[in-house]
């Protein structure tokens, strides 16, 4: 009877200990640093951008059909302290994206702070706040297939192409992300992030070639999705 009680007690204690080890990772890493990016050719920073005045202007003149979507290559580096992530994220437009007539290019730099609000053995669900600097630039090329241009006159000829127009400014950034939990001293994780950026204020469209008078101003509205592969060093 005593032996049975001892076995039951041992099993109970062992059982409880094992339950914890089953639900939680084998080792808790308190802090670490990480590098994140996506594939260069299969970029996964997809954005939908609203800069209403310019988009309306282009639509009215039938210059561009849809100017909202941009695909970027994201890079990110930062560190984690317990459930807090601090990171610097940069995203540039891939050179393989965009049609010839309308070339949207976007560059963003974002300082992010994320906090894990829910975590399981395998995942962290984070919410984040940040501030971004952005530059969204377009240039429109209208094709002239019937026009003939002498090669020697190439540099003296004007073409139907607008100078680069850009909207540059700062924006708030809120995001939610889902990442794998770090389980090894050097760990590879998936990171999915869905975010929203809103310009601090309206910023005027500018051209670097000359002073643009009566240019419209736009406040950025942007939704983005990022898939990043993260390599982290944890302690």
């Amino acid at each position: 009877m005593i032996l049975l009680a001892a076995i039951v007690l041992t099993f109970k204690v062992a059982g409880i200990a094992q339950t914890d080890s089953i639900t939680n990772p084998n080792r808790e890493f308190k802090h670490g640093y990480f590098l994140r990016t996506s594939s260069f050719f299969f970029s996964t920073n997809l954005s939908a951008i609203w800069l209403k005045n310019m988009q309306q202007f282009l639509k009215e003149r039938d210059l561009a059909k849809d100017t909202r979507y941009v695909i970027n290559i994201p890079f990110e580096t930062g560190f984690r302290f317990n459930d807090w992530f601090f990171s610097l994220n940069m995203a540039i437009t891939t050179p393989f994206f965009g049609d010839d007539a309308f070339n949207p290019k976007m560059f963003t730099t974002t300082m992010h702070t994320e906090r894990t609000v829910f975590k399981t053995r395998n995942y962290r669900f984070n919410v984040g706040l940040g501030a971004s600097l952005y530059q969204y630039a377009i240039s429109i090329q209208q094709e002239e297939p019937d026009r003939q241009v002498n090669f020697n006159d190439l540099l003296n000829t004007t073409f139907r192409r607008t100078p680069v127009l850009s909207n540059r400014g700062g924006a708030f950034d809120v995001a939610v992300s889902l990442t794998n939990r770090e389980k090894r001293p050097i760990s590879i994780e998936n990171c999915f992030r869905l975010g929203y950026r809103r310009g601090f204020k309206r910023y005027k469209w500018k051209s670097e070639s000359f002073q643009l008078i009566n240019a419209p101003s736009d406040q950025l509205d942007m939704i983005y999705f990022q898939y990043l592969v993260s390599i982290s060093r944890n302690r």
């Binding site: 099993f11 409880i16 395998n122």
Partner: protein
């Protein structure tokens, strides 16, 4: 008469010997975020697909027992135990997801903890008993 006595004797002999009671294995998984179903093999026989927030009940002959879990693009994991007749064993499983791999982590759990955790688990009906 002698033959008849022998037959009756054999019959009584078999009738009086009690069948060996089987042990019960209850394998369960609690609520898991994005948990996938894993194939469960008991003593090398496929018994069920165990999803998150579900449990299976399997009856096995007492002795050495192995519970193997596997999933597509994941690795196999085996949990071994020695079972006693008419005993009930609670085994908790949880999916481990890594960038390269995924598998079930299994461990024995005491009755009270298991019953508490299993309250909201649904029973998996499609279970093929190994024997």
């Amino acid at each position: 008469m002698g033959k008849l006595s022998l037959i009756v004797g054999i019959f009584l002999c078999f009738a009086s010997s009690e069948p060996v009671e089987k042990a019960t294995l209850i394998l369960y998984r609690g609520r898991e975020f994005l948990g996938n179903a894993h194939e469960i093999r008991v003593n090398d026989k496929l018994v069920a697909n165990l999803a998150a927030n579900a449990y299976i009940e399997v009856y096995v002959s007492p002795g050495k027992t192995s519970i193997e879990s596997s999933i597509y693009r994941g690795s196999k994991r085996v949990f071994r135990l020695v079972t006693e007749p008419a005993q009930v064993y609670y085994i908790k499983a949880y999916e481990e997801v890594d960038f390269w791999d995924r598998y079930l982590v299994m461990g024995a759990v005491d009755v009270e903890t298991a019953k508490k955790e299993m309250k909201k688990c649904r029973k998996t009906e499609k279970v093929r008993q190994p024997e």
